[in-house]
Symmetry: C2
């Protein structure tokens, strides 16, 4: 070997971040390669060379969303350590994120993917997302249980599953203009139904 290759002329991580936003806002089916070319400023060649086809690019965007956006939120639930207050704090942040600011009305990329027809490459990420959120809630609920914050008879595992589904529904409905107050009503009802 006498010569060596060119290196990438762009920041792959920055490009993926831009792609993530596109898929998050408009979904996989409504986002065209041309939209991605326009948003990233890259050429088709660079995109296909770096990421493969559209399905793999979408899977990479979901992976990024899960790792960079969902996981930190989930980790905060566990790190919080206050039991039920950690759950309440999570939903406060979630509702703010979903209903005001830059991403208001976007829902959650992963929640949305459940309703789209995600490519096979992304399917396992949906289960991973659900499992990670449930595990975080479960950790908080077990703290709550040992703090005697839970009503007698409340089963942490079932309650964690319930809170997980509630978060999914908050994500889903926030995309169609459900008001923050309305969503908050349900969250309050859930937490207070679990509390002692």
């Amino acid at each position: 070997m006498t010569g060596m290759a060119d290196v990438k002329h762009f920041d792959e991580a920055a490009a993926l971040a831009a792609v993530e936003l596109l898929f998050w806002r408009r979904g996989i089916a409504s986002t065209g390669i041309q939209d991605i070319v326009a948003a990233t400023g890259l050429s088709r060649s660079s995109l296909y060379n770096a990421f493969g086809g559209k399905d793999e690019l979408y899977a990479a965007a979901v992976r990024r969303y899960l790792d960079e956006r969902s996981r930190p939120m989930f980790d905060r639930i566990v790190a919080d350590g206050r039991g039920l207050a950690a759950v309440t704090a999570f939903f406060d942040r979630l509702l703010r994120l979903r209903c005001v600011g830059e991403f208001a009305g976007w829902g959650c990329l992963v929640s949305n993917a459940n309703a789209d027809n995600p490519p096979d490459a992304a399917l396992s990420l949906l289960a991973e997302h659900h499992a990670a959120l449930k595990a975080a809630f479960l950790a908080a609920l077990e703290v709550a249980e040992s703090n005697q914050e839970l009503r007698a008879g409340v089963e942490p595992n079932g309650a964690a599953e319930l809170l997980t589904l509630l978060a999914y529904a908050v994500n889903l409905r926030s995309r169609s203009g459900a008001s923050r107050a309305q969503l908050e009503t349900a969250v309050t009802a859930a937490v207070s139904a679990l509390a002692a």
Copy 2:
């Protein structure tokens, strides 16, 4: 006026029923006019003449789904009259519908529409669907309250909002292969958290 027009050569309601199934299973973005032509056996002319463009056809399918599939389920909650048992019975039917049989893994057409980018013509139907389900739950919960089935401090309005979101999440996750047992765990936790 001396002559009169031809009449339709096909059953409009039957065609719409077929279109509803397509949009339900694959979503609006992944369903092409060609798919609809193939499934109904109609020509493009007949479709556009009878329903207008794709967006209006989708809105008509959502309307049909809401009236013919959702409403009867909601009405059964109200007609049941047993209070909390009516809620449990609803979720039993829902889980069976979503997880086994002809429509297993399809989720709910209206729930799915929340994540897609529904055309303007269909947007108000999403709010109508949510409001109708919540009203049905509220009716059942008020019966439950007067039967003293509810735990002290449970607010029927908030609980109805919670159950509505739970149903949406069940619909959503059933589309991505969530197991019936897992979904049932959350439903059981919710109902038992509300019960006295």
